[in-house]
Amino acid sequence: MNVSLILIILLVGAFATFLAGDKLASKVALFFGLAAAGASIVLLNHYNLGENISFINQWITQPNISFALKADGLSMAMLLLTTVLTPIIIFSSFGNDYKNSKSFYALILFMSFAMAGTFLASDGLLYYIFWELSLIPIYFIALIWGNGDTEERKKAVVKFFIYTLAGSLFMLVAFVYMYQKAGSLLLEDLYKLNLTANEQLWIFLAFFLAYAIKIPLIPFHTWQANVYQKAPTVGTMLLSGIMLKMGLYSVIRWQLPLAPLAAKEYMYIFIGLGIAGVIYGSIVALKQKDLKKLLAYSSLAHVGLIAAGTYTLTLDGLRGAVLQMIAHGFVVVGLFYAAEIIFRRYETRAIAEMGGIRTQSPKFTSMILILVLASVALPTTFNFIGEFTVLYSLSQINIWFAILGGTTIILGAYYMLKMFQHAMLGETNTKPFADVTVNEGITLVLIIGVLFFFGMYPKPITDLITPSLEEILTQINRIN
């Protein structure tokens, strides 16, 4: 039993969903999503028992490329995030009618497949392929099933595609360059490379461009808000919940260990960029009129902090970043889902057109409040663990980083509560708001449950990721 099983399940699932026809598509997709989640939990068990669940096979002889899927704690954690969120996301779409739903759900599973592959691949080219592959389904999901004016949407989505592709192509060049030196793109072979500081800098920058756009860090974020807004909520969830973690994961897995000298040399700049994103994102979020856009900018702020954490090159920074990635994955999916629930009833995403929902739907309001609070990292939620650890790591580098990064807890509370106040509170809305349905409730409660459970007991995840992060740190520190 090895990790390729997950990929096979998801890929087969994508085809099966497509063949199942429009009526059955959503259920088949959910089935395969759950199967993948189940399989990954079983695999996690095997992994924890110390079994080798990696899968490595020669693929292309010239150039020398392997089909290498290596599962360590970090990959397993991200894999779980993907496979657990995927069925949740699929389930969350129940109740929406999508035309041509067989393609829609097939694309979701396919995207999940590509993202899972990205998290598992340990050969540079394989990784790159999965990385690019994940772009295609989301492009179509956003383009075809998105909302708003078609021309506007097209513009936003094409910009997103070209922009991210542009970034990643430079990463490809970096990989090719390293291939020249190493004769292979297997991660462990790349680790053995002894690149000069100058080479490392260029490689670091090439990677950075790819990741900064994907994550996104300012000032490369301009695609984000528009695409989040225009994409169907399922797409937005996939993007914000999992896909932007691909960038952050890649920083930890590829960028830092492959170009540690550059990472160390210019650490302050990149931490600074992350923190600038925190402040900038938070401030821009304040005055957003569209709920999804507001959430997009809040994502920008959160990932800025996570990125800053990774660039500290400390165990706390990396660990906090990973914890926060997972936590943010759940919370942001929950929030976007909440936005979707409102949209289903009010047909609007403009905050100004909401308000007064609390009197009509106290249950839903409580759930959204919990998500809001989790997103502002209230202790006992998972997000607090991540944010605290990241901020702590920043304080180890320089207390000012912690203070500036910590403004997120003030500004975050500001924009989130402001949104909550205007969207949910106030005089009873004249338009009726049906309370959450069972499906909606289950989804939200699941997410909230995860957030609280790991908020109180993050140890399982910490124990899972720590050894691999330590190994990565050894790689980062191997020179000098």
């Binding site: 301009t222 005055k287 706390d316 009197t359 202790p379 009873t428 140890k459």
Partner: protein, 629 residues
């Protein structure tokens, strides 16, 4: 040990259970039952606390309970644990004790509210977090409670969520608290970096055992922690949320914004006394901030007309006095004042609630008056509490406030002067409140007058209990023979060596304070009873009173220097920077497209041109290769 763990869990979880029951089943339980469950759950905690209180004498080192590993940091682990020692038990006693009373009070007070079960749920949740704050064995568990009570404060201030102004107040409270929380976090970070632990006990040993402490960073940490305390305990510059927080139902003001939550800052500083003792600079800052807060808040309190606003500024002012004591290293005095203040201020708030209840929501004292006859119990209890806060001898406030003034006098005369002036003002505005509310003729509408009545017993019983406590509360720390000081010795070892004697100076000072208080009362009497003055309409207020009435325009000031710029920046970023960046990215596309458009003109279809370029290219290549070499 097992027993203790279980009881401690009961102590912590009983209110949480109450919260869960009220949240999920409150509506179906009915109003009375949900109120009873809410009250009982806090009472259970109180009983559990009493159990520990009974056992603490036998175990002066306290009880430590570690439940599980919570957060792992590279250089240390934070466990989820409890520490039940003198300090936390003391705090738990009055939190759960007063908490129970206020719950009881709320059963009646909130009976007309359709969301009463939610109210009790939030109150229970608050008690749960407050207990967590107090009981935690390290700074991060404290932080859970710290943020948790902030959340409950947010929920309860905005309890009437249909009113967006209340929601604004709630939001403001939460955000200002979070500014403080950031300070607290920064302090935690520095301590973690310095000592690799956040556990109180370990921290204490580490600081005591350290050979060369980094004083600079220690001071920064202490200062950062102090900022945290400022936020939670409403000190300058983070105090403006507290008066606004009066938007919440009155029991909330009594419980959260007078008796318990706002004392969290004092708790935290007392908890970390071993740290603050090492940083005299920060202590001076605390003392000065405390004294200034006491004075500023008192001046504002002089002219407020909203009954709850007066009490709110009074609370800020009293908290300032406590911080003054903390800054002077007299933690036990601060704690003493916390306790007596909890009694009389809770009583005052509940009393004012009783008045507001009777007047159906009227809060402006200009529309009150003459309630003495209609509401005798409320009047009597509030009078006792007012006497206590004004420092009239033999009431609890006299002892605690007097000790603060004493300490101030011994350390720093100017601070003593400031504190004394604040105390005199306190006496004045408290009796201004009493006179305007209970004496003379009723100034409200006839409709209101018709409905005037004393509140039901569920409201008056807590008032009476609190009034009794406000009277006799001083007994726990009589000058020269202080049970409290003895009790706190394990926490504050300095006390063991401190001398307790009353000399001439002390008596003179006491006399000055008492006279001062009486003068304050006298002026109030002269103005509001003799001259029968009623405060003027808002528009007619002039001169310095206008400045005071408008709270020194601090809110407006903050609005101009923080809120407006941030909002401006937000709009600027949204409209200009975002569009600009976006245009920049699109710009690449636009430029290439434009080049493409121009390029199309070259491709004009003429064979002649094509061949010409062909030949040109040929010539260029040949000449580059063979002529240029």
């Amino acid at each position: 040990m097992e027993m203790n763990t279980n009881i401690a869990l009961v102590l912590v979880l009983a209110p949480f259970l109450g919260f869960l029951i009220n949240v999920f089943f409150g509506k179906s339980l009915g109003k009375s039952l949900s109120g009873i469950i809410g009250t009982l759950s806090v009472l259970v905690s109180f009983i559990a606390t009493a159990y520990f209180f009974g056992g603490i004498a036998a175990k002066p080192e306290g009880i430590r309970i570690s439940l599980f590993d919570w957060i792992q940091i590279s250089n240390f682990n934070v466990d989820f644990g409890f520490q039940l020692d003198q300090l936390s038990i003391l705090w738990l006693l009055f939190v759960t004790g007063i908490g129970s009373l206020i719950h009881l009070y709320s059963i009646s007070y909130m009976h007309d509210d359709e969301n009463m079960h939610k109210f009790f749920a939030y109150l229970n949740l608050f008690i749960f977090f407050m207990i967590t704050l107090v009981i935690g064995s390290n700074l991060l568990v404290l932080f859970i409670g710290w943020e948790g009570v902030g959340l409950c404060s947010y929920l309860l201030i905005g309890f009437w969520h249909k009113n967006q102004e209340y929601n604004d107040a709630a939001k403001k409270a939460f955000i200002m608290n979070r500014i403080g929380d950031l300070g607290l976090l920064v302090g935690i970070f520095i301590l973690g970096n310095l000592f690799s632990t956040l556990d109180y006990a370990t921290l204490k040993t580490a600081i005591a055992g350290a050979t060369n402490l980094d004083m600079y960073w220690l001071s920064v940490a202490a200062f950062a922690l102090f900022i945290g305390a400022c936020g939670k305990s409403a000190q300058i510059p983070l105090y403006t949320w507290l008066p606004d927080a009066m938007a919440g139902p009155t029991p909330v003001s009594a419980l959260i914004h007078a008796a318990t939550m706002v004392t969290a800052g004092i708790f935290m500083i007392t908890r970390l006394n071993f740290l603050f003792d090492l940083t005299p600079d920060v202590q001076s800052i605390i003392a000065i901030v405390g004294a200034v807060t006491a004075l500023v808040a008192a001046t504002i309190g002089l002219v407020q007309n909203d009954i709850k606003k007066v009490l709110a500024y009074s609370t800020v002012s009293q908290l300032g006095l406590m911080f003054l004591a903390l800054g002077l290293g007299a933690y036990e005095v601060a704690v003493f004042h916390v306790i007596t203040h909890a009694f009389f201020k809770a009583c005052l708030f509940l009393g004012s609630g009783s008045v507001i209840h009777a007047l159906h929501g009227e809060q402006d004292m200009r529309n009150m008056g003459g309630l003495k006859k209609a509401m005798p119990i409320t009047f009597a209890t509030m009078l006792i509490a007012s006497l206590a806060i004004s420092g009239v001898p033999l009431f609890s406030g006299f002892f605690s406030k007097d000790e603060i003034l004493l300490v101030a006098f011994h350390h720093n005369i100017p601070l003593w002067v400031v504190a004394s002036v604040a105390s005199i003002m306190t006496a004045f505005y408290m009796f201004r409140l009493m006179f305007l509310t209970f004496f003379q003729e009723f100034r409200g509408t006839a409709e209101q007058k018709h409905h005037l009545h004393e509140s039901p017993s569920l409201i008056t019983i807590p008032l009476i209990v609190l009034a009794i406590l406000a009277t006799i509360g001083g007994l726990i720390s009589l000058p020269g023979n202080s049970w409290l000081n003895e009790y706190l010795i394990p926490i504050l070892p300095k006390l063991a060596t401190a001398e307790h004697h009353l000399g001439t100076t002390e008596y003179i000072l006491m006399a000055i304070a008492v006279v001062g208080g009486l003068v304050g009362i006298g002026i109030a009497y002269a103005k509001y009873i003799k001259q029968n003055t009623v405060p003027t309409e808002d528009a007619a207020i002039t001169g310095f009173s206008r400045v005071l009435y408008n709270k020194y325009y601090v809110d407006e000031f903050y609005d101009v220097i923080f809120v407006k710029p941030i909002n401006f920046l937000s709009r600027f970023f949204r409209d200009t920077v975002e569009t600009g960046l976006s245009a920049l990215v699109f710009g690449f596309g636009k430029v290439t497209n434009e080049i493409s458009y121009q390029g199309k003109k070259i491709q004009n279809g003429s064979i002649g041109l094509y061949l010409f370029v062909f030949v040109l290219g040929l010539c260029a290549i040949v000449s580059y290769l063979f002529l240029a070499q």
